[in-house]
Amino acid sequence: MEILKVEFLKLRKKTRIWLGPILVFWLIMIAYPLTVELLQDKLQIGFFSVLWIAILISMMLATEDIFTEDYNDGSLEQTIIQESSFSTNIGLKVFIYWFLTGIPVSILSFIFSFGTTQNFGLSLSIFPLALISSYIFLNLFVLGNSLSLNKGSVLGAIVTMPIALPVLIVLGKSITALQFDINFEGFILLLLGSLSIIIVLVPIVVSYIIRAHLE
Amino acid sequence: MFNFAFNSFYEAIYMNGHGIYVWSVLIIVLFSLLVFFTVYQYKIKKIKEKLDEFN
């Protein structure tokens, strides 16, 4: 709990890191209608694709400097030698990042979805999808950033992007399932299952990767 | 099992219009293999030469 509080306070002070991705998401969602002719039915055609890509990009930006500062000031090394589990610390750090960026982005997804489709039920189903997918993307990009710790975040994003693409495919399929009312819950369960594995494995793998960096 | 599937050499090349696809894929595969074998052999040769100089 103590770690959670510390991480929360640390991140809250770095406004750019958590507010930046939310604003980028907002901008993409506002920019989308401007690039399409302002007809409601045309807007809906590509809306969800843009939504998922916007979530992907905002999560990529959110994790950009997740370990950089701790790495530069030496607090990563201190955390490793502390008694508490390093992988748990990483898991909690990712959770805080998701709390401050993933949840607001998911709420915005619901709002934009309702604004575009004017279908409350559909937009309400988008909310859990956005929550789960943002957490998955966040975890994957944290993995990428740990790999390219002192090499810039672009390399990390490039190497983890292929792992994130199957999630995008599932998200696309789940929208089709939602629109035709066929087994949408199945897709939610599939994503939740993936998340439950990722949530455990990623912090463990990241802790080993960071140890490899600091050895 | 080993009957020649075409009536003439020209027919084998043309393959009813599909020859262009089949032969171009063959060229790509063989070219890729050739390039990789050559590059690795060359790299090994270069390293050996360097190590020889040190010796």
Binding site: V159 | M1, H18, G19, I28, L33, F37
Partner: protein, 243 residues
């Protein structure tokens, strides 16, 4: 016991000596099998009733696409071996296989695209198998660029191994994509459990090309690993003696 076995047979020196002993044999046998099967498949098998002569691309496409996934699995096994038992040779294998895996995936993509023109009427379709193979190709490139961005080889090996293991989740997705999603691709014609759905006249040359191509790729991996060993162990006295 496994650890003892691995350490005994996986020293780079022993490996190099074994490679020199068997390389020529594997290379020439595979080359002969490959050339023979290619000629057999391209010129001596009857025309396909549905696809016409374009089906002959199968003899070039299937071995490459089969190996593109198998090589990734080989990389994942090598990565696990390196991370668990700290076998240096396994780490050399991982980075030696990556460019060759990228090459086979590239061949699979290009040959598949060319095959698609006369068969499906399109050279590219965003269907599950093609997209996931493209993802695999990008992954190979990502792995190579990650390894190249570190000058410290040991660190690069560890990071690469972790990424390879995590990325292995894509392999079952690629394998099963044809069954899970509606796609233009047909299901696997040859499986371990069922009788092949392909006629023996066409099947035998296909098996020949797979074996031949597999052998040639093994040879490529052997010389690529040899290259890695020379790069990494160039300061060791045994390498100087060997050269």
């Amino acid at each position: 016991m496994i650890k003892k076995f691995i350490h005994q047979f996986a020293s780079p020196k022993t490996f190099l000596l074994q490679v020199d002993k068997f390389y020529g044999l594997i290379f020439f046998t595979s080359l002969c099998i490959y050339i023979f099967s290619i000629i057999w498949g391209l010129l001596f098998t009857p025309e396909d009733f549905v696809q016409g002569n374009s089906f002959r691309i199968m003899y070039l496409h299937v071995p490459a696409s089969f190996l593109s996934q198998s090589l990734y699995i080989a990389m994942a096994v090598s990565s696990a071996t390196y991370l668990i038992w700290r076998v240096k040779l396994a780490a050399y294998f991982v980075i030696a296989i990556a460019p060759i895996g990228a090459m086979t995936t590239f061949i699979a993509l290009v040959s598949g695209s060319i095959w698609g023109i006369p068969t499906w009427g399109t050279w590219w379709q965003w269907d599950a198998r093609i997209t996931s193979t493209l993802i695999l190709f990008i992954m190979y490139l990502g792995l190579i660029s990650l390894h190249n961005s570190f000058s410290n080889y040991e660190k690069a090996d560890k990071l690469l191994s972790w990424l390879v293991i995590v990325g292995a989740v894509n392999i079952p997705i690629i394998k099963k994509s044809v069954d899970w999603w509606t796609t233009l691709h047909q299901s696997a014609s040859i499986t371990l459990t069922n009788k092949p759905s392909i006629d023996p006249v066409m099947l035998y040359p296909l098996i020949g090309t797979i074996i031949g191509f597999f052998g040639l790729i093994i040879c490529l991996i052997l010389i690529s690993s040899k290259n890695q060993i020379f790069i990494r162990e160039k300061n060791k006295s045994w390498v100087k003696d060997y050269v």
